[in-house]
């Protein structure tokens, strides 16, 4: 997926192109290897079953990567060169969940575009929410 639209044409209220991914344990394991984060909560089903989550959950940074992908698709290289993100992790994403990253432009201040962003699962539960901003010239 490449940048879908000239970022300068976004207006307040416009929705960003959503990114949807379905999580599997295999994907979580792959992220654990790539990130070096082998917390058993993410990769050890027997251990994770003893925790408050009752099973493995995805790394927060993996789910956040879907949000970053959405920002890259919306703003291209500007995101990598001038993006800022401030989010809270509000819920756990589990294997089998379908995660949708979505966003909406809420403010434009000169070249700076501020977006409300979030990730939700297939039940509409919020996994991540916060703000992202980027300079678009």
């Amino acid at each position: 997926m490449q940048q879908t639209r000239d970022a300068r044409t976004y207006r307040v209220g416009d929705e960003l192109p959503a990114v949807t991914e379905t999580l599997t344990q295999e994907k979580i394991d792959r992220y654990a290897d790539a990130s070096g984060d082998h917390n058993p909560l993410h990769i050890d089903a027997a251990y994770a079953a003893t925790t408050q989550f009752g099973g493995t959950i995805a790394h927060g940074m993996l789910v956040l990567a879907y949000l970053s992908e959405m920002m890259t698709a919306s703003f291209g290289a500007s995101w990598a060169g001038s993006g800022a993100l401030k989010v809270r992790f509000r819920g756990a994403a589990r294997p089998g969940d379908t995660v949708t990253a979505a966003g909406r432009v809420i403010k434009i201040d000169g070249e700076k575009m501020v977006c409300e962003v979030e990730c939700r699962n297939q039940n509409g539960e919020v996994l991540i929410s916060g703000e992202a901003s980027v300079r678009v010239s």
């Binding site: 997926m1 490449q2 940048q3 991914e21 994907k27 792959r30 992220y31 290897d33 790539a34 990130s35 070096g36 984060d37 082998h38 917390n39 058993p40 925790t51 408050q52 790394h59 927060g60 940074m61 993996l62 956040l64 990567a65 879907y66 970053s68 992908e69 890259t72 698709a73 290289a77 995101w79 990598a80 060169g81 001038s82 993006g83 800022a84 993100l85 401030k86 989010v87 809270r88 992790f89 916060g130």
Partner: protein
């Protein structure tokens, strides 16, 4: 030497870590997060954050039950594939409430010329009397 993050006081500075931004690692990261927005020659911006967290996990094991609460990231300059980078991190805040520790860890990454590439802050929480996990986050 790996220490338990639970034992670290406010102000603790982690050892500086230098790493190479190799195409192989970038490809592994991109495959793990299924990000198709970046060209093979580009480094996904969140990969830098994953790199710094990976470096951090080599130095500090997370306490059992640790939860990633929030994340702030500022992408300041795009990473150059094939270059190297230096990650620094420190415990910026630490507080305890109702049996849970809330810890803020500041992250900064510079390129080999000392130019800032990314800064950020991760907030984690864990039980004040938690046990140590032998493996990462």
């Amino acid at each position: 030497m790996t220490v338990n993050l639970a034992d670290l006081p406010k102000g603790h500075e982690f050892a500086e870590t230098r790493f190479e931004l190799t195409p192989e690692w970038a490809a592994e990261y991109r495959a793990a997060v299924e990000d198709q927005t970046n060209a093979p020659a580009d480094l996904p911006p969140l990969a830098l954050a994953a790199f710094s967290i990976r470096a951090l996990l080599h130095q500090g094991a997370l306490p059992e039950g640790a939860i990633h609460v929030s994340q702030e990231l500022n992408f300041l300059n795009r990473g150059e594939m094939g270059g190297s980078a230096v990650a620094r991190a420190r415990v910026a805040s630490r507080g305890e409430r109702q049996g849970w520790v809330l810890m803020g860890i500041e992250l900064a990454i510079e390129d080999e010329d000392g130019k800032s590439m990314m800064s950020g802050r991760a907030t984690i929480t864990f039980p004040a009397e938690g046990r140590t996990q032998e493996v990462g986050a």
